[in-house]
Amino acid sequence: MTPELRKNPPAPLERVPFDIPKPFETQLDNGLKVVIIEDERLPLVSFRLAFHAGDAHDPIEWTGMTSAMSSMLTEGTEIYSSLQLAEKIERLGSSISASTSGDFTVVAASALSLYSTEILHLLAEVVLRPTFPENELDLYRRNTIENLKFQRSQPGFLAGEQSARLIYGDHPYSKVSPKAADIEKIDRETLASFHAATLIPNNAMFIVVGDVKSDELLTELNELFGEWQPGKVISHKFADPPSRASRTLTIVDRPGSAQSNIVLANLGVKRIDPDYFPMIVMNQILGAGASSRIFMNLREEKGYTYGAYTRLDTKKLAGDFEATAEVRTAVTGDSLKEFFYELDRIRDEKVSDDELQDAKNFLTGVFPLRAETQEGLTNLIVNQQLYGLPDDYLQTYRDNVEAVTVDDVQRIANKRVRPAEMAIVIVGDAEEVLPQANLYADSIEIFDTDGDAQDQEKYNRAESEMTADVAGKWKLVIDFQGQQLPVSLTLDQDGAVITGVLETMLGNGKIANGVVSGTKLSATANAEMQGQVVDFAIAGKVDGESMSGTITAPIVPDPLPFTGSRS
């Protein structure tokens, strides 16, 4: 091929049409909705028994109940123990798992289609006849509490917890996780009655995609689920998410953190909002992908981060818009600057026709990719059904994306991207983050990783405190493997710069590279000891007339702690 012909990307071939079949829908007498797509591509089947009951519907005072109930479904039934269930399911090479989200509980099963009948029986067993055995519940409680502790070591979890609280306020979507005390009080009787009231056929749908015959399957479903008694569907009234009037900064202090996890959030749209399509197109241009503006700016141009994105979370009743990145601590402030630059730009300026078309091409192009596997196709159907999207939603998706205009994008950006009212959440080293980020917010709050509020003064490096007075002669004692070694440190100070001498029993060293920042000082001392030159690194913290810290020397593996006072 000639260099000339290589210059431009080749034109696509003729487009191959792709149509997602419309499912067969019916209902059992007890109100259970059944949705079936016969998919004969491979000998597989996927089942989803889904309920309009999620974590947001936890009873008042019982946070974590829905999640506990769903986790316990596979831990013992009237005829099988937890171990027997695991063995029966896995011996078929198949899986059954239950999970919850804010809005829904979904019990998922998948298998080779030749085991369709066996796996359906097991699915019916765990959904209809769980017994919540005391010993398994006890294990669930203890393991869940340990996992809650573990989550608190994950910066992503800490950021999500704060942003959900700030965006959703008293709405139950604000709770991303129960507390240990919530889990401790969940008991067997309450679980069993909650299960009976919640997993009812008239608040559920059974979705099947796979190598099955609809009529045979319906007969089986009637046998297994026909006797399942309907119940009362509870309606819930939730508080509205708060409206935000100013930009706030929330820092979760994670001392020593190598990075800052940044989340900028404001309220977005719910899944069935008429603005959904303009919203996803705008989000695609702004930050959803690796060719979006925010990624191109923060990663490709600036190299601040491994990835920077925006994200829409569109739930049943509300949603949020978030911009996120994990950046190295030193560029936390610079990253905020670029984020807000991009958030303002998508509001103030019209996007180009090319950018718009690129975003649309992406959204319509990946659509068939998502339906390539049976699990992928099943998830598309499940979402369409659970959120109550139009019957032809999957068939008209392409047209709806194509209909979005440049003006739609600007209109929706101004309405739904709200930089002046955003919640900034940063998980990182508060002492490093605060001076970089405080300019970007109208108010500031700081928490520790347990979620307890901290006094902001602790982290402030105000001008007046910028340089503690460290001049004078300090008598220090180094702890060397249990031995107490006295040394003295004589310091002169000129602003933030310190000079002086370190005196030890073995020899003296001149202080170099000495600086004071706040109450912290760091310096090196170049000492000649018994004919050898040794470099010491000193890191200290001054508290009035006393000082503590560590001295590091290449001859000893670990930093040596010291304490002492000014004489």
């Binding site: 091929m1 290589r6 431009n8 990307p9 080749p10 696509p12 071939l13 003729e14 487009r15 191959v16 049409p17 792709f18 591509r41 491979l42 597989l44 937890s82 171990l83 695991a86 063995e87 399911i89 896995e90 011996r91 090479g93 198949s94 080779l112 294990l139 203890r142 340990e146 502790k149 573990f150 070591s153 910066p155 001392p255 020593g256 953190s257 190598a258 990075q259 992908g289 690796a290 060719s291 191109m296 990663r299 490709e300 190299g303 981060t305 491994y306 994990e326 950046v327 190295r328 690129d358 091409n361 992406f362 319509t364 192009g365 659509f367 068939p368 990719l369 339906a371 390539e372 596997t373």
Partner: protein, 425 residues
């Protein structure tokens, strides 16, 4: 079960271009989607001792533009077309792949050929991607609890430097790298005769062949890369290490064993032994430790599949106050039992069904097919092996599993890494 279940073979055609590029075509028209996988025969195993992290740095460089594709244009072109793409680096290879709507096949081939032919190895791109790699290291390794344990244990298992050093590599080595180093690395390892190109999905075979010849046919081949010795002594390099992890909330441990290469009888047997020991809630160790003793929060295990000596790992995050050595005794006790009695008939039945299920599921995605085919083509020179692998696995007997566990796992020749939380809590 296994006697009655036969998967229809995938349609596979293989050939080479004159410049040595190996091509494999796997047409499948069930969804109008096509996946392209380009596998280069270079991984961290090929790195010099003073240039670790190079293979992975290169994976980044490959997205920085080439003669006709601007910096980051690869992302842009793929996304505009409605595709998805990525690249990854392992000890064994560096791979690049994209899945596109079927009608965008020419675009994918144009992009892959342009960077194979004419990658833009400039000082600016190098500097920029060094920073991105450092950030990736901070994010994935330094800033994650337990983020460094797999790199550490590889250093304990393997003695040969080619095998033992990490893929992310040394940041000092990356800083030392000159543009000339990187250009030379590209010339040697990113030649058409050091790569495999696989297409899987909906395409016309004749049309695809013409396109491949058009785009890749005139890229120059290069002398073969230096030969490589990944041989290992039987013993692990170190039996024990304690690692202070500032971010870890709980103690944890990881045990690793050195085992024979992928596709050896022993490797297959140990892969299946792993399923018995740690895969799923009915597995032996889950039932003993998560249930039973109720001593661990998290239990995991996996095999690291390599062309040379490979490895298998079992790790756990115990509950606070639990005796770690007791948990390890339980693990070794189960291994001992498996070495003495082998898996039960029920366990063998489970393995069979899981293998069949896994292999049917794998076939759904054009990208999964392309990747597996590419591995067989690159490592073994025979992409058709994908059609026989299920049968090979199903033929492994309980006695073979017992014997392999006895030889390779039930031994003191293993590495133990203890993670000690060293943070402020």
């Amino acid at each position: 079960m296994s006697e009655t279940f036969k998967l229809p073979p995938l349609e596979i055609e293989e050939y080479s271009l004159d410049n040595g590029l190996k091509v494999v075509l796997n047409p499948d028209h069930s969804v109008p989607v096509v996946s392209i996988a380009v596998y280069y025969n270079v991984g961290s195993r090929n790195e010099r001792e003073d240039r670790t992290g190079f293979a992975h740095l290169f994976e980044h460089m490959m997205f920085q533009g080439s003669e006709n594709v601007p910096k980051a244009g690869h992302f842009q072109h793929i996304m505009k077309a409605g595709g998805t793409m990525n690249g990854t680096t392992s000890s064994e290879r560096t791979n690049y792949f994209e899945t596109l709507p079927a009608n965008q096949l020419p675009l994918g081939l144009w992009l892959e050929s342009d960077r194979m032919r004419s990658l833009a190895v400039t000082q600016e791109n190098l500097d920029n991607q060094r920073e991105a790699v450092k950030e990736e290291k901070r994010l994935r390794y330094d800033n994650q609890p337990y983020g460094q344990i797999f790199d550490l244990i590889n250093e304990m298992i393997y003695k040969n430097f080619s095998n033992s050093h990490s893929t992310i590599g040394s940041m000092e080595h990356l800083d030392d790298a000159t543009v000339e180093d990187v250009q030379e690395f590209f010339r040697i390892y990113y030649a058409p005769n050091n790569a495999v190109l696989v297409l899987s999905g909906s395409f016309d075979t004749h049309g695809a062949k013409d396109l491949i010849e058009t785009y890749f046919g005139d890229i120059e081949s290069q002398p073969l890369p230096p030969s490589l010795d990944v041989s290992e002594p039987v013993e692990v390099a170190a039996n024990y290490k304690e690692w202070e992890d500032k971010l870890a909330p709980f103690p944890a441990f990881l045990i690793g064993w050195k085992i024979p290469p992928r596709r050896s009888d022993e490797f297959y047997a140990l892969y299946l032994a792993g399923k018995v020991l740690y895969e799923g809630e009915s597995s032996r160790l889950y039932q003993k430790l998560v249930k039973g003793e109720e001593s661990v929060i998290q239990l995991f295990g996996f095999t690291d599949e390599r062309r040379g000596p490979s490895s298998i790992f079992i790790g756990a995050i115990p509950k606070p106050e639990k005796d770690l050595s007791r948990i390890r005794e339980t693990i070794m006790q189960e291994i001992h039992d498996l070495a003495a009695h082998g898996p039960t008939a029920e366990e063998m039945e489970k393995i069979e069904n899981q293998l069949i299920n896994d292999s049917v599921r794998m076939r759904q995605s054009s990208m999964n097919r392309a990747q597996q085919i590419a591995e067989f083509a690159l490592y073994d020179g025979d992409p058709q092996l994908i059609n026989g692998e299920l049968e090979v696995l199903l033929a492994v007997t309980a006695e073979q599993i017992r014997h392999a566990v006895g030889t390779f796992l039930n031994t003191e020749n293993r590495a133990l890494l203890d993670v000690v939380p060293a943070g402020k809590g």
